[in-house]
Symmetry: C2
Subunit: 482 residues, 2 copies
């Protein structure tokens, strides 16, 4: 295990802090070229990176190869996003000298917040790690990044970091733009370092809460964008089971076992109509009960002990429970009722990271809506219904507790586009008004600055009268395209 | 002194919580009509409201009458803002079935966060109080509001609340849209109430930090948007003193004594060229040393004890120091050097709420830039320079630490427009990426929700294919005007 010393952490944050003014002053075109250079470097090395990632994470080369493509695509998306310019949120109000009181010329835009700490996740060794979405969006925003590597894939992290440093240097990014630290102590020190201005995190509720608390306890607290855990409720209507029960069962089986169930958007609670036969359909659709190797032994043993807890609950039937060797887990399906779920909510609504899903049989959608309110914050909520179903109330109930409402699909798999939102009320994220995936993710690392009565030459280009960057701006209240 | 009971607080937050779904479902047009009804109600009662406000705050009828106009104007601005629709940040990505992997239809918009706690300030009995900017922006966002009244103007708060309730009811707003609580205990309880989803605050660093810590310590933490204190550095170049020293002195004298110095944007530290004669110009420009009555006795005695602390410092000369009766304060000017300021930063850089400003003589702008970095987070930073001065570096240094950079003006007075930004790095605010004044203030009370593959009829109107609201949206990456 690698472990950065306290001096290493200070060196990384100091370098980031020294680089911050140059990054803030860098052009959008330059930053876009850095992001593209990083994407190209990942793609150029995909085979050997995937091999190394698989040896550390056991996620399989097919999935990991796709993840590299997603990660490089994400870097390129942010390059496109910043060149378009809307992320600067440029606003111009010309002076109104004859107003009472007279109004000065006022122009506002977003500027980078400064050095950002990015805590890598275990379950996406590329997409939520060293060059993942948090790093991409922070660099796109113009903020230097210090990554805390995940111990589950340290050698991969070091390799990706090395190739990133080379790519950034070749593309002309300032020294100090990107740093990395290793080990839990370094991670704790990092979030409290006064040079760090924001932090992002993907991981467990326990770890995330501890770092969130440290961020809030600083003499000058910083925003902590954490993604901590999610149950991702799914609701299947009687009409949907009747119309396409088998394909729904196959879809669910694929979704909750994908990546050995180690996705933050894994469907953890599935409301199914009582006596609809869906349980049997799901069991029939389950893949052969071959245990899959989990990311690490801590995750595997947490899953196993969760299985023991569930087995001890009389209100839950475990419909499939293959024994697995240490470090592995086989698909596990539980079954209960809405009443039992609400009775034993603390245990039954705990996130089980691994290939487990809980079928909850219901007799009315009102009962489901009440249960959804108890489930609380989730990244996603899914509805499987037929056009004849009235699911407007259900849709609203899901929108209240989650960040993405899906129809006719499964929550695993997160498209990286302009519209994506990956976030939700606590505990799914610590800051539900922001996203960690999609074009708007860079808003986390930008803060507004207004300029009053500034001479044109002293204004950032984005706010100069002639609009030299050619970006969309709101002028005197009117949104104008370039 | 009024004091709400624990039951009162629960009743207010419960009512807000029950109203939240109706507010979230309300149309933009309806919400705009509520905001306009509130503005009309304030304006209709301006004379008697100002009399009551003056009796409690001693701020004078002229200033308070202007503040009512600002406050009703602010409510009307938010009505205009939400009808335009950009605040919904509607994004639509159509499905791309032949992408690898295939991309689903994905649409994202912002929805209200739910019940908001608003902590009123003492120094703006209208603009940062019951119907001030925080309330206006939260209601505009579609979030119910529970105000914690400020003890400095409780009778005014109750009067404004009563007229607001009537106006909201007449305009058809749901019951529970707006509530109020009184007293410190109620305020502490409010921020920890699980039904409250966000809080905003304007006041002291001590009080704000205590509430911030409570918000962060909740089982499910909430965002706390606090404005805590600000030094608002001003820099005057030698050329500016030479060109217009007298008018600058008059401007500064007016700005730091306005409202008996009780503005969050009061210029607290003014860098002036050594041996430029600006001190004498300022003393000559000071109004007759008639002590003004302060907002309350606690603020007055804090100012008086601050004066004693400064008087004990050999590195500071107090250039004007009239004795004031209890509860009053006279304009006070201190003088020191950059070196002494940095030597005794903790004391000399403490915010003094009241009519005090500290002149800091400098010999080079580099010296000023170094001192600005030590000052840290401020709401504003001001430059008075001539076209021949090179102040690009100084402008960048100010933009690093503050939320609004002014040229040729004074920071007191905050225009309420689309472009305004009122915020800055800690301690000036707890969340420097958001503003409490200006059109974008409602972003604090909105959170994104994405809809994947949703039937058109189940989508919120803002995201339906036909754009029935006629709002700006980004479709497949392209920003489109209606």
């Amino acid at each position: 295990m690698r472990a950065s010393s306290s001096e290493d952490v200070i060196a990384a944050t100091t370098a980031a802090s020294l680089a911050a003014p140059a990054l803030a002053a860098s052009s959008l075109a330059d930053r876009a070229s850095w992001l593209r250079a990083l994407a190209d470097a990942l793609d150029a090395d995909v085979t050997s990176l995937v091999d190394l990632a698989d040896s550390e994470s056991h996620l399989g080369t097919a999935r990991l190869t796709g993840e590299v493509a997603r990660t490089s695509g994400q870097l390129r998306l942010f390059a496109d996003v910043i060149l378009e310019g809307s992320q600067l949120e440029a606003l111009i109000d010309h002076a109104v000298p004859d107003a009472a009181p007279p109004r000065p010329d006022l122009r506002r835009m977003l500027r980078p917040v400064g050095p950002v700490a990015v805590y890598a996740a275990s379950n996406f060794p590329f997409a939520f790690s060293v060059l993942g979405g948090d790093t991409a969006s922070a660099l796109a925003a113009g903020s230097p990044v210090v990554v805390k590597a995940h111990p589950g894939h340290e050698e991969l992290s070091a390799r990706v970091f090395d190739l990133a440093l080379l790519a950034l240097a070749s593309a002309g990014a300032p020294e100090g733009t990107f740093g990395i630290v290793y080990g839990m102590d370094a991670g704790v020190q990092l979030v409290s370092d006064p040079r760090i201005q924001a932090a992002s995190f993907t991981g467990s509720e326990r770890g995330g809460r501890a770092l969130f608390d440290l961020a809030a306890a600083r003499p000058a607290p910083i925003p902590f964008y954490g993604e901590l855990g999610s149950l991702n409720p799914v609701v299947i209507t009687p009409a949907a089971v009747a119309e396409r029960g088998t394909s729904l069962a196959e879809g669910l089986a694929g979704s909750f076992t994908m990546g050995v169930g180690q996705f933050c958007t894994k469907p953890g609670v599935v409301f199914v109509p009582a006596d609809s036969g869906f349980e049997e359909l799901l069991l029939a659709a389950l893949p052969a009960p071959v245990p899959g190797q989990m990311l690490d032994s801590r995750i595997a043993s947490a899953f196993a002990s969760g299985q023991s807890v569930l087995a001890s609950r009389p209100s839950v039937s475990l419909l499939s429970s293959t024994e697995s060797p240490a470090g592995f887990a086989a698909p596990l399906v539980g079954s209960t009722t809405v009443a039992a779920l609400l009775d034993d909510a603390e245990t039954l609504l705990e996130e089980r990271f691994g290939p487990f899903t809980l079928l909850v049989s219901y007799t009315s959608l009102d009962e489901v809506i009440a249960a959804i309110a108890v489930i609380g914050g989730s990244l996603t909520g899914t509805v499987h219904a037929e056009p004849t179903d009235d699911v407007a109330g259900l849709t609203d109930a899901l929108a209240e507790i989650c960040g993405r409402v899906l129809f006719a699909g499964w929550p695993t798999g997160v498209a990286v586009t302009w519209s994506q939102h990956h976030g939700g009320p606590w505990p799914s994220t610590t800051a539900s008004i922001h996203t960690s995936v999609g074009a708007t993710a860079l808003r986390r690392f930008l803060r507004p600055v207004a300029y009053q009565s500034a001479p044109d030459a002293l204004l950032p280009e984005a706010l100069r009268e002639a609009n030299p960057l050619g970006i969309p701006r709101r002028v005197d209240g009117e949104l104008r395209l370039p």
